[in-house]
């Protein structure tokens, strides 16, 4: 006999009906220690990995955003000249920049700002004034941007000591790489979800097959498919939820144990979560439960639909 589940039966194994629960129904399925532990373990391991994939995606996304923002349309002019010519050359360079199409603003950095930039390398006590330090000029492009090659030629003629450092252009590949990593992180999340669904489907199938006699007895005494399916679906959903909660807790603990992000550490120490991003890992257990619910329900429907 091959009959489909009625719409009513399907509605009854909806998530809401499931949460309302029917503790009696749970007892009819014998406790299966091994599958239960495997499901818990799979959910915990997958969620643990998902926490890192999530952290990686969020951190690289944040980095890509920071880099592109900071570096958006900015570049630096470095003027190295004998001490007595620096001021004149800086003045000349600013003149050139003021008349260059595509440059919105140009500003010579003050001595204090330059000292601030050098401080991490030389310490606060360095007598910057006594050193032949090049003058830096910050250039902000307008919407169209300037012609870097043309500007270099003009500077070469008028300010021989000036070097144009177009850092937006060398950091662009970094931003692109960060975006790629982010995409890979998101893909990993999807794959982790898929693998978890596959594992839970296998576990549910084996549980359903191992309990063929239970299902036959239940059918014989008048149990509807919804009742039987719910007994299995509830189990696997809760197992996946608690497994995922455990994996999430371990993942978060591992993230907390990472060194804090520091300016000196570069991007490697920035892999943790920041601010409201800490909410995201808490979304994982409900998602795992939903994945498990869908996978087990599909397995139960397939199996029961084929039974007499």
């Amino acid at each position: 006999m091959n009959k489909r589940l009625s719409p009513r039966a399907l509605a009854a194994i909806s998530p809401l009906a499931l949460l309302k629960g029917e503790p009696q129904a749970d007892r009819v399925v014998p406790p299966t220690g091994f599958t239960a532990r495997l499901t818990l373990f799979a959910a915990a391991a997958m969620t643990f990995l998902a926490v890192f994939a999530l952290a990686l995606s969020l951190a690289t996304g944040r980095m890509a955003a920071n880099w592109s923002q900071e570096l958006a349309r900015s570049s630096t002019l470095r003027i190295s000249a004998p001490a007595d010519q620096i001021a004149a050359q800086t003045e000349a360079a600013l003149q050139v920049l003021a008349t260059t199409r595509g440059v919105a603003r140009a500003r010579a950095l003050t001595a204090e700002e330059q000292q601030g930039l050098l401080e991490p390398w030389f310490g606060p006590d360095l007598p910057v004034d006594s050193l032949p330090i090049p003058q830096l000029v910050e250039i902000v492009e307008d919407g169209e941007g300037y012609d870097a090659a043309g500007l270099r030629l003009r500077l070469q003629a008028e300010v021989p000591g000036a070097v144009l450092d177009d850092h937006a252009r060398w950091r662009r590949p970094l931003v692109r790489a960060a975006e790629r990593i982010r995409a890979l992180g998101l893909l990993s999340l999807l794959l982790i979800g898929g693998v978890m669904a596959a594992m839970i489907t296998l576990a549910a199938n084996s549980a359903l097959a191992a309990n063929a006699q239970v299902i036959a007895v239940l059918r014989l005494v008048g149990a509807r498919d919804e009742f039987i399916a719910r007994a299995f679906v509830r189990r696997f959903t809760f197992r996946a939820f608690w497994g995922a909660a455990l994996g999430m807790a371990l993942g978060l603990a591992a993230l907390l144990a990472l060194p804090q992000a520091q300016a000196e550490g570069g991007f490697l120490t920035g892999l943790g979560l920041r601010g409201w991003h800490w909410i995201w890992p808490f979304v994982l257990p409900p998602v795992a439960a939903a994945v498990s619910f869908a996978a087990t329900r599909a397995a139960a429907r397939r199996m029961l639909g084929n039974l007499a």
């Binding site: 006999m1 009625s6 009696q24 009819v28 014998p30 014989l220």
Partner: protein, 225 residues
């Protein structure tokens, strides 16, 4: 309640049953007999919707089996109690819980039915075994537990497939007595058996009709049994 009309059933190759017509009336008591492999179990399965006839019609409580959904079949099972020869239980639940299983799966409040459950278990003589697990039961106790489970929903029809197949004579008499008592309460009873002694023993206590499956057909057996 159960109406079979020109019904036939065939497995892949050959026809097992053909041209079967029967109308079970409320309160009747039937024996179904015939050689092993004649199709007694198949016939009973057709009566409770576990199999769909390959030809003809089976109407259970006014519903054509072919038009029933799986849920309809499940609901019908609550009105037809079935006892199998190799009765199966949920081995991790106690005997009492197994007997109460039909209540549980149909959404009844098992707690509220505790008194009825206790009386039923006593009626079947299983009170001292109520807390045992099914694998610990003897053959006769299993059959009585299966019978108790089959009747707890107070079904209108009881179908028993070789209920005395695995038990000794004395136990088969006790089971028969329980089934006869159920029939006196107005239940329709059909027992498939090849034990002619059991049929003879029943004849003195109840007005039973004997059906025989032979050569794929269902015949009303003579009074010679």
């Amino acid at each position: 309640m159960i109406e079979l009309d020109n019904l036939a059933y065939s497995y892949g190759g050959g026809e097992l049953l053909s041209d079967i017509s029967l109308r079970l009336t409320p309160g009747s008591f039937h024996f179904l007999t015939g050689p092993s492999g004649a199709g007694k179990t198949t016939f009973l399965k057709l009566c409770y919707g576990a199999l769909i006839p390959t030809a003809g019609q089976a109407v259970l409580f006014g519903q054509d089996v072919r038009e029933m959904t799986r849920d309809d079949v499940a609901t019908i099972r609550r009105r037809i109690g079935v006892v199998h020869q190799d009765c199966q239980f949920l081995d991790h639940l106690t005997v009492a819980e197994n007997i109460a299983l039909p209540l549980m799966v149909s959404g009844h409040d098992v707690e509220a039915e505790q008194q009825n459950l206790g009386e039923l278990i006593a009626w079947c003589g299983l009170t001292h075994r109520a807390g045992a697990l099914p694998p610990e039961l003897s053959g006769g106790e299993r059959q009585r537990a299966a019978l108790a489970r089959a009747v707890i929903m107070s079904p209108e029809v009881i179908l028993a497939d070789e209920p005395t197949g695995n038990v000794d004579w004395e136990m088969s008499q006790r089971l028969l007595a329980l089934l006869v008592e159920l029939n006196r309460m107005g239940k329709t009873v059909m027992i498939a058996t090849h034990d002619l002694g059991l049929i003879r023993a029943a004849k003195s206590r109840v007005q039973a009709r004997v059906l025989r499956i032979a050569k794929r057909r269902l015949q009303l057996a003579g009074a010679d049994l």
